[in-house]
C-alpha cells in the first residue's frame, strides 16, 4: 500500500484561472450594465447586461468544476486529517471576513442613528447647521422625513419580519437536527431535516420579496428614502443575498446526501454549509433588533 501523503498538493488546476477570468468579466459587465441602465452616466448601448450575466454563469460553472474536483478528491480519500483542518480553518476565517463586511453596514447604521441624524437636528455643537440648513428637520428614527424633505413610512417589526425571524431561527435548529442525524448515520432523517431547512430558507426569501413589495408599493420605503431606506435595503438586501446563497448550498448538500456522499465521520462540506447558515441566522438576529425593532 502506498503511504498516504503527508499533505496532498494538487499539481495544477484550470479552475482558478477560469474563476478569475469570470470575475473580471462580471466586473466589467456590471460597470457597463450600471452605466447603461441608470441615470448618472446614462451610457448608450445594452451589452453590459448580457456580459454581466455571462460572467455570473462562468462563476457558477467554475464553482461546479472546482467543488467537483474537491469532492472527488475527498471521495477518493486523498484528504488527510491535516487537509480537513485546512478546509475548516479556511471556512472559519472566511466567515470572519463576512462578519466584517456586515460590520461596515452596521457601522453606517449606528453612525446615522447616533451621530449624523441627531447632528443634523442640532445636537452637540451643531445648532447652526440645523438652523441655517434645515430648520424644519426633526430627529426621529426611523427617519420619516429626511432633511431634504423625502418622506417614508417605517417597516413594522412585528409583522413579516418577526415571522421571518421565527423561520430563520427554526431553520438553524432543523439544520442542527440534520447534523445529528448525519452523525448517527441516520440516512432517512438527514435528507428530511435538510429538505425542511431548505424549505424554510425559501419561505424566508419569498416573504422577504413580499416585504420589499410592501415597502416599495405601500410604505414609500425605497433605497432612495434617505438614510433609513439606505441602511434598511443595504443590510436586508445583502443578508437576503446570503440567505439565497446559503439555501442553494444547503440544497446541494441535500442532493449530495441523497447520493450518499457523506459519512458519519467525514462530512466537512455539510458542516461548512451549516456554519454558514448559522452565521446568516445570527446576522439576521442583529438585523431584526437594530433595523426593525429598536
Amino acid at each position: 500500500m502506498i503511504e498516504a501523503p503527508r499533505y496532498y498538493v494538487p499539481h495544477s488546476s484550470p479552475w482558478p484561472i477560469i474563476g478569475s477570468t469570470a470575475l473580471a468579466i462580471t466586473a466589467f459587465g456590471a460597470v457597463s450594465f450600471i452605466h447603461q441602465s441608470t441615470e448618472k452616466v446614462a451610457a448608450e448601448g445594452s451589452f453590459g447586461e448580457p456580459i454581466f450575466f455571462i460572467g455570473l454563469a462562468m462563476i457558477a460553472f467554475m464553482m461546479f468544476g472546482w467543488f467537483g474536483i474537491v469532492i472527488r478528491e475527498s471521495v477518493k480519500g486523498m484528504n488527510s486529517v491535516m487537509m480537513d483542518r485546512s478546509y475548516r480553518m479556511g471556512m472559519a476565517w472566511f466567515i470572519v471576513s463576512e462578519i466584517m463586511f456586515f460590520a461596515a453596514f452596521f457601522g453606517a447604521l449606528f453612525y446615522a442613528r447616533i451621530m449624523s441624524v441627531p447632528w443634523l437636528a442640532g445636537a452637540g455643537n451643531n445648532l447652526e447647521t440645523h438652523v441655517l440648513l434645515w430648520p424644519e428637520f426633526a430627529d426621529t428614527w426611523p427617519l420619516f422625513m429626511t432633511p431634504g424633505g423625502g418622506i417614508t413610512e417605517a417597516m413594522e417589526a412585528w409583522g413579516l419580519p418577526f415571522i421571518n425571524t421565527v423561520i430563520l431561527v427554526t431553520s438553524s435548529v432543523t439544520v442542527t437536527f440534520a447534523h445529528w442525524a448525519l452523525k448517527k448515520n441516520h440516512r432517512v432523517l438527514l435528507p428530511i431535516w435538510l429538505a425542511i431547512t431548505v424549505a424554510l430558507g425559501t419561505t424566508f426569501l419569498t416573504l422577504q420579496v413580499i416585504e420589499y413589495q410592501e415597502a416599495y408599493g405601500e410604505l414609500g420605503l425605497t433605497m432612495g428614502s434617505g438614510i433609513y431606506g439606505s441602511t434598511f435595503f443595504m443590510l436586508t438586501g445583502f443578508h437576503g443575498f446570503h440567505v439565497a446563497m446559503g439555501t442553494i448550498i444547503l440544497f446541494v448538500m441535500l442532493l449530495r446526501s441523497l447520493r450518499g456522499h457523506f459519512s458519519a465521520e467525514n462530512h466537512f462540506a455539510f458542516e461548512a454549509a451549516s456554519w454558514y447558515w448559522h452565521f446568516v441566522d445570527v446576522v439576521w438576529l442583529f438585523l431584526f433588533t437594530f433595523v426593525y425593532w429598536f
Binding site: P5, R6, Y7, Y8, V9, P10, H11, S12, S13, P14, W15, P16, I17, S20, L23, A24, A27, F28, V31, I34, H35, T38, K40, V41, A43, E73, M82, R85, S86, M89, G90, W93, F94, V96, S97, M100, F101, A103, A104, F105, G107, A108, Y111, A112, M115, S116, V117, W119, L120, L133, L143, T146, P147, G148, G150, T222, M223, G224, S230, M234
Partner: protein
C-alpha cells in the same frame, strides 16, 4: 514523492507549455514569482506616474500636466503603489518563504493561491484602463472621499469600485490561505513562539487583512449605491454624512498602513541577526509589540480626521491612542539596534537596505508622532508634511523592506549570487534619492504647501526642484535594480545552500536554488547545525 493527480502532461508547443505552467500552477514558488513580477511591473507603472507628478512640480506654474491629469496621476499612483506594489510584493515573499520557513510542502490551499494571484492582473488592467475612458481616470486621491467620488466622480469611478472589489477578494483569500498555512502546516516542534519573525508578522498582517478588507469592500459598495441607486449614506440631505465615508475608509485605512509595514518589520528581524551574527534581541517582545501595534491600529483611525470637527473627547482619545503605538514601535527599533550591538556586522546589500529601513522608518515614525498631536496636526494636515511622513514609512520602510528581502533571498530562489558591487550602487543611489526626494517635503509642508494641488506659490520652488531631482535619481536607480535581478536570474556566482554565513532557519537547509517541491517529508526542527549544507 507525494501522490500527484496528473503527472503525464502530454507534449505541447512551448507557448502552450509556458502558458499552462504559469496560468494553472498551484506551486507556492511559482505563484510567489508571479506575485513578485506583478509587483515589479506595477512598480514601474506607478513610478512613471510619480515621475509625471514630480516633473510637473519641478517648477511653479502649470507645465504640461493639466490639473485634471495631475489629479488622475496622484490617484492612480497611490492606488497602484499601495495595492499593486507593496501588498503583492509582500504576498509574493510570503508565498516563496512561508512554506520553506515553517517546513511545509506548500501553501495550505494551493488552488486558492493561484486564484488569489490571477485576480490581480485583471483588477489592475481594469484600473489602469480607466486612463483611457471618457472623463478620465479617478481623480479624487487614493482615499476617494465622498462627495468627490460620489457626486463628482467621473464614470470610471465605477470601474475603480469593481477593481477594488477584485483586489479585496484576492487579498482576503490570500490572507486566509496564509493564516491556515501558518496555523496548520508548521513542522512538528515549531511552536508559535518558535516561529521566525517573518512568519509571525505575516500571521498578524493576514489577520488585519481579513478584518479590514471587507470593510473597504463595504465602503466602495456604499459609494456605488450612492452614485447610482439613490442611497444617501454620504449625503446630508438624506440624513447621511460625507464624514461617515471617512470613518469607514479610515477604519480600513489605518490598519491598512500596518498591513503595508508589518511584513517589513519581519524582514528586518530576519536580516539584521544574520548579518550581525547574533540572535535577535528580544524575540518575545518583538512578537508582543507586533500584536499590540495591530490591535491598537483598530482604534486610531480618527487621527486622519482631526480637522473634521470630531468631538473633543474623540480627538483626545485618538491622539493618546496613536501616541501609544509609538511605544511598541519603539520597542522594535530598540531591539533591532540591540541585536546589532557588539555583533560582528558585515554590510552586504540586504543588510544595507535593512539598516536604511531601520533608520529612515524611524524618521517616518517621528513625523507620525508629530502628526498625532491634535493641535500640531491642525497645521500639518493636508500639507506636504503628511506626504513626507507617509513616504518615509512607505519607501524606505515598506519598499526597502521588500528590496532587502529580495537581495537576501534571491540567491535561494535562483541559485546565483547577485552582483554585490551593483547592489551597493543601487543602495547608495536609492538612499540618497529617497532622502533628496522626501526630506525637503517636510519643510514644504511646515511652510504650508498643500498636497494634491498641481501648482504652488513661488516660495516653495527651491525645495520642489531638489525633490524632483531626487525623484529622478530614485526612479533611474530602480532600472538598475531590475537589471541586477535579471542578471542574477540568468547567472552569476553559484550560491551555497546556506548563502549567508550567519543565516539560520529551515529555508537555508535547502539547496540553492530551492527545488520546486520542498519539504515533502518534514524536516527536523530545530535544525541541528550539521543539517546546514557546508560550502
Amino acid at each position: 514523492m507525494a501522490v500527484t493527480a496528473d503527472h503525464n502532461i502530454p507534449n505541447r508547443s512551448p507557448l502552450m507549455a509556458f502558458l499552462s505552467r504559469w496560468l494553472l500552477t498551484t506551486n507556492h514558488k511559482e505563484i510567489g514569482t508571479l506575485y513578485m513580477w506583478l509587483s515589479f511591473v506595477l512598480f514601474f507603472i506607478g513610478g512613471a506616474m510619480a515621475m509625471v507628478i514630480r516633473m510637473e512640480l519641478f517648477q511653479p506654474g502649470i507645465q504640461f500636466a493639466e490639473p485634471l491629469l495631475y489629479n488622475q496621476m496622484v490617484t492612480l499612483h497611490g492606488l497602484i503603489m499601495v495595492f499593486g506594489v507593496v501588498m503583492p510584493g509582500f504576498v509574493g515573499l510570503a508565498n516563496w518563504q512561508l512554506p520553506m520557513m515553517i517546513g511545509a510542502p506548500d501553501m495550505a490551499l494551493p488552488r486558492l493561491n493561484n486564484f488569489s494571484f490571477w485576480i490581480l492582473p485583471f483588477a489592475f488592467t481594469l484600473l489602469i484602463s480607466t486612463l483611457f475612458m471618457e472623463g478620465g481616470a479617478p481623480n479624487f486621491g487614493w482615499t476617494f472621499y465622498a462627495p468627490l467620488s460620489t457626486t463628482y466622480g467621473p464614470p470610471s469611478t465605477d470601474v475603480f469600485i469593481f477593481g477594488v472589489h477584485l483586489m479585496g477578494i484576492s487579498s482576503v483569500l490570500g490572507a486566509i490561505n496564509i493564516i491556515v498555512t501558518i496555523f496548520n502546516l508548521r513542522v512538528k516542534g515549531m511552536t508559535l513562539m518558535k516561529m521566525p519573525l517573518f512568519v509571525w508578522t505575516w500571521l498578524i498582517t493576514a489577520f488585519l487583512l481579513v478584518m479590514v478588507m471587507p470593510v473597504l469592500a463595504g465602503a466602495v459598495t456604499m459609494v456605488l449605491t450612492d452614485r447610482h441607486f439613490g442611497t444617501s449614506f454620504f449625503a446630508a440631505a438624506g440624513g447621511g454624512d460625507p464624514l461617515l465615508f471617512q470613518h469607514v475608509f479610515w477604519f480600513f485605512g489605518h490598519p491598512e498602513v500596518y498591513i503595508l509595514i508589518l511584513p517589513g518589520f519581519g524582514i528586518a528581524s530576519q536580516i539584521i541577526p544574520t548579518f550581525a551574527r547574533k540572535k535577535l534581541f528580544g524575540y518575545h517582545s518583538m512578537v508582543y509589540a507586533t500584536a499590540s501595534i495591530a490591535i491598537l491600529s483598530f482604534v486610531v483611525w480618527g487621527h486622519h480626521m482631526f480637522t473634521t470637527g470630531m468631538p473633543l473627547t474623540a480627538e483626545l482619545f485618538v491622539m493618546y491612542a496613536t501616541m501609544l503605538i509609538a511605544v511598541p514601535t519603539g520597542v522594535k527599533v530598540f531591539n533591532w539596534v540591540a541585536t546589532m550591538w557588539r555583533g560582528s556586522i558585515t554590510f552586504e546589500t540586504p543588510m544595507l537596505f535593512a539598516l536604511g529601513f531601520v533608520i529612515l522608518f524611524t524618521i517616518g515614525g517621528f513625523s507620525g508622532l508629530m502628526l498625532a498631536l491634535v493641535p500640531a496636526d491642525f497645521q500639518y494636515h493636508d500639507t506636504f508634511f503628511v506626504v513626507a511622513h507617509f513616504h518615509y514609512v512607505l519607501y524606505p520602510g515598506a519598499i526597502f523592506g521588500i528590496m532587502s528581502a529580495v537581495y537576501y533571498w534571491l540567491p535561494k530562489w535562483t541559485g546565483n549570487m547577485y552582483d554585490e558591487r551593483l547592489g551597493k550602487i543601487h543602495f547608495w543611489t536609492a538612499i540618497i534619492g529617497v532622502n533628496m526626494t522626501f526630506f525637503p517635503m517636510h519643510f514644504l509642508g511646515l511652510a504650508g504647501m498643500p498636497r494634491r494641488i498641481v501648482d504652488y506659490s513661488l516660495q516653495f520652488a527651491d525645495f520642489n526642484m531638489v525633490a524632483s531631482f531626487g525623484a529622478g535619481m530614485l526612479g533611474l536607480t530602480q532600472v538598475l535594480f531590475l537589471y541586477i535581478v535579471i542578471k542574477t536570474i540568468r547567472g552569476g556566482k553559484k550560491a551555497t545552500g546556506r548563502v549567508w554565513e550567519g543565516a539560520e532557519g529551515l529555508e537555508w537547509t535547502l539547496a540553492s536554488p530551492a527545488p520546486l517541491h520542498t519539504f515533502e517529508t518534514p524536516p527536523k526542527f530545530p535544525t541541528p547545525e550539521e543539517d546546514y549544507p557546508r560550502d
